[in-house]
């Protein structure tokens, strides 16, 4: 059995491709900074974009862990909406202290994840369909709790400060995203639990045969996803100061678009925390720039969908080319 060369052909194209998301982020920012030197290239704009998209980034991170393990969690968008509604309702209408409201909402998110996990792991149901169904039910609960209307009212300034303050000019929401994504990156990469998530996603049957507790880990994965979605809901409440029970779908599709875009350069199935966060902000920076140039609100859909299509097509092309040159 001959030796295998350790060195992949290290072409410029390959290096560019591996870092394409960061390049996309940098070039989008550079392009719009040149086009809009006064409005786009400003600290205020950077703070605004990084803060408002932190919720989307957290939600996209919630999708990452199940995807790493080969499972879809479609309920996360609706869990975000329910969390937002309950968090705002408890604080505004029931006068519950924000910390306790947050804890309750986090618990609800974990319970939704537990139900999803048990249905998928123990009952053996298809995750995509199951979480779509539980997500719709969760949406119903959000409408039931709020009567279908947005929740407005006075909130304690300290709670609003969690979502609106800055540390040395950096918006707190961006700091939360950096903390969560760093933790997720480290867990997936440096712990046996994380490595086993990739193993289950890569070959669940092999993982089971080797003794990895696939069912138990699947439940844990969905609980983590539900908790992160709830966290995104709490953060959005704190940024907005209000809640909208029907916001779920608006967040769900961009979150998944970002996760898949984030995994495109690393190869099929290699979902990862950093790529996801960079993808969220690359898309947000582009959409923000286009809108400042006067594009209509729906440019967001074309940009998100177009970028994802381009990324998967490029990924396919790179894979075919790599196979041909081997």
């Amino acid at each position: 059995m001959g030796a295998v060369s350790a060195v992949e052909p290290l072409s410029i194209g390959r290096v560019l491709w591996a870092n394409s998301l960061v390049l996309m982020l940098v070039s989008v920012i550079a392009l719009f900074s040149i086009l809009l030197p006064d409005s786009y290239f400003s600290l205020a704009n950077a703070q605004m974009i990084s803060s408002t998209n932190a919720v989307l980034a957290l939600l996209a991170l919630a999708a990452v862990i199940p995807l790493v393990s080969g499972q879809f969690d479609m309920s996360i968008g609706f869990t975000l909406a329910l969390s937002q509604s309950i968090c705002a309702g408890l604080i505004i209408h029931s006068g519950v202290p924000p910390l306790i409201a947050g804890a309750v909402v986090l618990l609800i998110g974990m319970v939704i994840g537990l139900v999803n996990g048990l249905l998928v792991a123990r009952a053996g149901l298809n995750a995509f369909i199951t979480t779509l169904a539980t997500g719709i039910v969760v949406q119903g609960f959000a409408q039931l709790y709020t009567g279908g209307a947005s929740v407005f009212g006075r909130m304690p300034p300290l709670f609003l400060a969690w979502g609106r303050d800055r540390l040395l000019g950096v918006p707190l929401p961006l700091i939360y995203v950096l903390v969560v994504s760093t933790a997720m990156w480290a867990i997936l990469r440096y712990t046996d639990w994380g490595r086993r998530c990739y193993a289950i996603g890569g070959n669940a049957k092999a993982a089971r045969l080797i003794g990895i507790p696939v069912e138990r880990m699947t439940v844990q994965v969905f609980v983590a996803s539900g908790a992160l979605a709830a966290l995104a809901g709490i953060l959005s409440t704190s940024i907005l100061g209000s809640a909208n029970p029907n916001i779920g779908l608006n967040y769900l599709l961009p979150a998944f678009a970002a996760v898949f875009l984030g995994a495109a350069p690393t190869g099929p199935g290699r979902f990862n925390a950093w790529g996801t966060v960079v993808a969220v902000y690359a898309l947000a920076a582009g959409i923000g720039g286009l809108q400042q140039l006067g594009a209509a609100f729906y440019v967001e859909q074309f940009f998100n969908g177009g970028a994802l299509l381009l990324a998967v097509a490029l990924a396919r092309w790179m894979a075919v080319r790599a196979a041909a040159t081997r």
């Binding site: 059995m1 001959g2 350790a6 046996d192 070959n203 080797i210 990895i212 190869g267």
Partner: protein, 263 residues
Amino acid sequence: MTSAAAAELKQAARTTSAPLVSLRGIGVNYGAVTAVADVDLDLVAGEIVALCGDNGAGKSSLVKVISGAAQPSRGALLIDGEPARFSGPQDALRRGVATIYQELALAPRLAIYQNVFLGAELTRMIGPLRLLDKARMMAEAKAYLARLAVTIDDMRRPVEKLSGGQRQAIAIARALRWNANLVIMDEPTAALGVRETAQVHDLIRRLAQDGRAVLLISHSMPDVAALARRVVIMKHGRKVIDRAVAGLSADDIGHMIASGKDI
């Protein structure tokens, strides 16, 4: 003394020892259907034994018992002379019986070292954190492969980029990592070309030279004739032949499987 001669000597010393795994009067029933009846079998360190038989002869059912995937309806399974009962394939693995399935049970996108240590990763403590010890896993994975005379430089390569023969080597290295005394191989050359088949033959011989017992399930008579020291043939759930392979051709073995009679 050359290393090959040393290996021969080591193998000779180990083959004279007591069986690693013994089956006594094993029977497997599925409802009213008898899949396996009254099978005795001894598997000894350093020996490659081929298990043959037509489809439905009871091979798979017997292998499930040895690999821990099923419980026997009757009879006893002995490990080092002690009665044993496996609760599942992982339990068998912990007790030194590794099964390498036809589809290899590898995670194609994970790196070589990650596959070798799948489900049993090496970790180290950094303060209160238990983190993966990648450097040690890579070094040890390389060492296991070296024992199989396989040289792959980069342990970070994903398994999907390896050839079929190399993938077999990764699966076997995982058995070594679990320190398996008995390695069950299910049709190891089924999907391979001529050159890769020769490579896998080499791997299996090295495994036996390393002091492991190998149970080879194969429909390929050339494999059996080239590799096995002993051939066990099943028919209608019973063991009908258990003899040395020396002097038999691939055709002879094929004839014995078809007729169920020794020649």
